[in-house]
Symmetry: C2
């Protein structure tokens, strides 16, 4: 097994960091890595905001409810970005572009572009013995995050990533068996056995792990999550920002 795959397989989300800044050189490598990811039809339809202002970090920590959004070495916010594609357009061209810019196809393209770039950034950081955690909870109050970062129309915050020198070593979290997520030639709807086996495994994991021990299964977690409507306002905010409208 090579170093890259070792880095990939060693991933765990880090939520506690030492009080050490990452170097400019490390940040440069993380950003260059993000940029070298594949991008749909060369669109590079994302931007990254590095948040260093302590006041803004405190606001974002409050929105997300996660102290490590403030307490880390670097905080990145990944955004879908179809703004720069319109910058050199005439008024007439701009009007013509809207059907594409604001459809679901390009909402997908920009979200996927941003995620591919983010995962390269994550692995670059982890390969330098830094830890990372994705922050989906910026979508708790997407309109406020949008305002804090002064994003124009056609730029939408999607998720954050905290980076720093790890100050804990959490257990690796189990994943579904490969045969429950990978299928040959056609989808297999009959996954109940795999899910039941995984529920047993994850119940044992929650019982045995070093911190935050609890009694739970994956299915129960998912039932709780999905039966309680959450972030129902994302739909409207996304549209207001000029994405996913048609």
């Amino acid at each position: 097994m090579n170093e890259t795959i070792e880095t990939i397989l060693n991933h765990r989300s880090i939520r506690k960091f030492k009080d050490v800044k990452i170097s400019d050189e490390q940040l440069d490598l993380i950003l260059s890595s993000a940029q070298q990811a594949s991008t749909s039809s060369y669109m590079m339809a994302y931007s990254i905001i590095g948040v260093t202002d302590e006041e803004k970090k405190a606001q974002l920590a409050e929105i997300t409810g996660q102290a490590y959004v403030k307490n880390n070495s670097h905080l990145l916010i990944f955004c879908a970005d179809l703004y720069r594609h319109t910058l050199q357009a005439s008024e007439e061209q701009y009007e013509q572009m809207l059907a594409n810019l604001e459809n679901s196809e390009h909402f997908l393209v920009s979200a996927i572009d941003a995620a591919l770039a983010a995962q390269n950034a994550a692995l670059a950081a982890e390969s330098m013995d830094l830890g990372i955690c994705y922050i989906g909870s910026i979508r708790n109050q997407l309109d406020k995050v949008d305002e804090i970062l002064s994003l124009p129309k056609h730029v939408l915050p999607l998720f954050g990533m905290v980076i720093g020198v790890p100050d804990h070593q959490p257990d690796k979290k189990p994943r579904l068996e490969t045969k429950a997520i990978y299928f040959e030639n056609e989808y297999n709807q009959d996954q109940k056995d795999e899910l039941q086996a995984f529920d047993k495994e994850i119940a044992a994991y929650y019982q045995s792990r070093k911190t935050n021990t609890r009694s739970d299964s994956w299915t129960d977690q998912m039932l709780r999550r999905f039966t309680n409507p959450m972030r129902m306002d994302v739909t409207g905010i996304v549209k207001k920002k000029g994405f996913n409208k048609q």
Copy 2:
């Protein structure tokens, strides 16, 4: 610079492969790597279909208009998947789940989960000297792809990835300057200088590259792309599959 970052920075999309199968061990490492990616709230909201059936590959090559969708060592289709989360739900719970399953928040979650997994798969492959290319053009006829792979409701094909032993070494494609995609604390709307500089660079690149030489700039490419409505049917198909409805 470490091996992982070298692998990341060396990326180029490969569209011509030697007639060599990847080994089962390589495929296992690619899939394990995909699975170890971060996942929003442990949802693992994606599935991967490996297409080995020659007839299906031929159909997908026709849909995408790309011969290398047929001529490769392995073809993966990455799907957003919120199906398995409903499998153990009672009828009443299922009804309750729909508000979440079918909102834009969970459309985003599943697309991002799939993309993070895919980028891990891509890097695992590239670290073993395999080449990859993402295939967005399955969205040319998303309903047909959906049918070919027999996907149930709440499973949506997003993009493909071809993998194999490279039979060409294309030039590395330039990226926007980092200062055009990375901003500190707030978005910088004034990107015209960076875009003009990049247009000059990319015009020179298209003139000088080994194959497919042409006269073009990034801005012109984007203007052409966005002024011609494309894949406008994706919106409706996504909703029909039970995503992004509310």
